[in-house]
Amino acid sequence: MRLKPLKSDVIIKLSEICVGFDDEKILNNINLDIYNKSFATLLGPSGCGKTTTLRIIGGFEKPTSGHLYFEGVNITNLPPYKRNVNTVFQKYALFPHLNVYENIAFGLKIKKFSKKEISLKVGEMLELVNLVPFDKRSIDRLSGGQQQRVAIARALVNSPKVLLLDEPLGALDLKLRKDMQAELKRIQQSLEITFIYVTHDQEEALTMSDIVIVMNQGEIQQIGTPLDIYNEPENAFVADFIGESNIIDGTMKEDFLVNFLGNNFVCVDGGFSPDEPVDVVIRPEDVKVLDDTTMKLTGIVKSIIFKGVHYEMVVDSCGYSWLIHSTVPQEPGKMIGLEIAPNDIHIMRKKEG
């Protein structure tokens, strides 16, 4: 288990960042600390503001209000070329008029490094991303994965303290994505720099990150380790977005007792007002299927699909269609009982409005 970084290790701080105006907020009051040398991922559906947040850190967008700090210094109005931050763009944005070597050397040439230093540093980068034999290749003769590596090398060669990555693996096929995920993680750990990564792919976020920031509609929904986010989602949106969930309307009877689908269930959450309406979130793999039909919850198997490791079932029970993962197949049409352990029942406050 990785040690939690110290508070003083904050490298990037977003404070009350807003973009857009009242009627159309793209970002609404974003407060976020990114710790040095961490792999932080902004995760959310398209249009949630994750890319805008990244572009603010990169300097390509100005917040309407709020401040951005880099190592404690306010850099809200600093142009991108003066920031010690580099970006791997979504569509790579490699320079078509330059070859692989020249693309990677671009930033160093601007900073007036000597020829010798440039060739040394670019050589190191080519090695890091496994592109040594391709240095003289023109950009349009590279595969998607190779272009991706050039984009990463071009950013990293400037030794930024923070690397921003905007859905960098979006255009790659599944196999290549998996490889690149592992490789990015390896690069981040070996260079010991901060990665801020944007993706809409929850699995990618959970695999690679130290910290996941879940966003929706311009607001941060939850900040936590992948484990926290998966096991203890703070609201129904996070629960639904991260993995699959059954989300059921319920009411809190008293502390540790919730009512949904016409029954009372013991749970492990408290601190709600009596009869407060809540969202009850239950993961598909946390529902046990029993042959015993005298359980509180019974239902009829509607359909079943084989998914490799498990079967995915839809079960109709008390007017709710449950999504259930089980390793034991059941006949469609069969009456079954459902069992849920108290600590698998997650209670979430309903969002106002």
């Binding site: 990169g58 300097g59 390509f60 142009p79 991108p80 070329y81 931050v85 580099n86 970006t87 763009f89 569509k91 944005a93 490699l94 320079f95 078509p96 008029h97 671009f106 930033g107 040439k109 601007i110 900073k111 023109s138 950009i139 349009d140 071009r154 950013a155 400037n158």
Partner: protein
């Protein structure tokens, strides 16, 4: 595939009838005398007009350069505008092309002549006048005005294709405003520069009428010379054809030189 080839037939015939055949006729006239005997005299005689040819090429060169200098910033600003706004301003700036070519040339005569618009406006403020009509300067102004749209179109269409991502990437890597221009925008707009230069230079070399209207009698260009061989008092299509032939070869040489200069590492790389 064969069906598609059939579709290209009308164009092929058009090219044969109106390009290849006339070229052969030009070649024939250039190499024969009035009596139809083969001769080299027409072509070798073109040397007499050496100074006119040089002057035409020089003026065309200046005109091309001036068009480039005017059109480049204009096109760049247009290309950075919102799509619709850019298109609209481009449309407005190309509107004069809808007016007849001769009318536009006359308009410049009325602007530049001794008691023309320009001098009358100047007269309000100063005691001196610009004596610009009937000079090479006036010819060049008229030509720049006439050929500028071609340069703008060529540059604009190339510049608009430059991805904003390229500019952001350059900024991200530490390039300031001028660095972005020099390292990214300029090299990526080179194909547009080359086609724009070709599109202005070629017609500018063989311009006529503009030179006669704005340049008076003393600023005859190669285009006027050819015109005179066919429509003037001199009437000698054999010499006219010979000058045309030499001019064509010179233009081809200029163009291939220019393309050589441009195509080193640019061609087809624009995304």
């Amino acid at each position: 595939m064969n069906k598609l080839k059939v579709l290209s037939l009308p164009y092929m015939m058009w090219v044969c009838l109106f390009t290849v055949v006339p070229l052969i006729i030009v070649l024939f006239f250039a190499l024969t005398t009035e009596n139809g005997e083969l001769t080299i005299m027409n072509v070798s005689g073109v040397g007499r007009y050496f100074s006119v040819i040089i002057k035409s090429i020089l003026i065309a060169g200046v005109v091309t350069l001036a068009s480039l200098l005017v059109a480049y910033p204009f096109s760049y600003i247009l290309s950075q505008m919102e799509f619709k706004t850019g298109n609209f301003i481009l449309f407005i700036s190309l509107l004069p092309m809808w007016v007849n070519f001769l009318l536009r040339a006359y308009a410049w005569v009325t602007i530049l002549e001794k008691n023309g618009l320009l001098n009358r406006v100047l007269g309000f403020f100063f005691s001196w006048k610009l004596d610009i009509i009937n000079t090479k300067m006036a010819v060049a102004i008229g030509m720049v005005y006439n050929y500028l749209p071609f340069m703008v179109l060529a540059l604009f269409s190339t510049m608009r294709k430059i991805n904003i991502g390229m500019i952001e990437a350059a900024q991200d890597l530490g390039a300031s405003g001028f660095g972005v221009f020099r390292k990214v925008i300029l090299p990526l707009s080179m194909p547009g520069v080359i086609s724009g230069v070709n599109m202005v230079f070629v017609p500018a070399v063989s311009t006529f009428i503009i030179s006669r209207m704005l340049g008076g009698g003393s600023n005859m260009l190669i285009g006027d010379l050819i015109d005179m061989q066919f429509l003037g008092n001199i009437y000698n299509p054999h010499v006219g054809a010979a000058i045309s032939l030499v001019l064509m070869i010179l233009i081809l040489l200029c163009m291939s030189l220019m393309n050589q200069f441009g195509s080193e590492d640019m061609e087809g790389k624009l995304i």
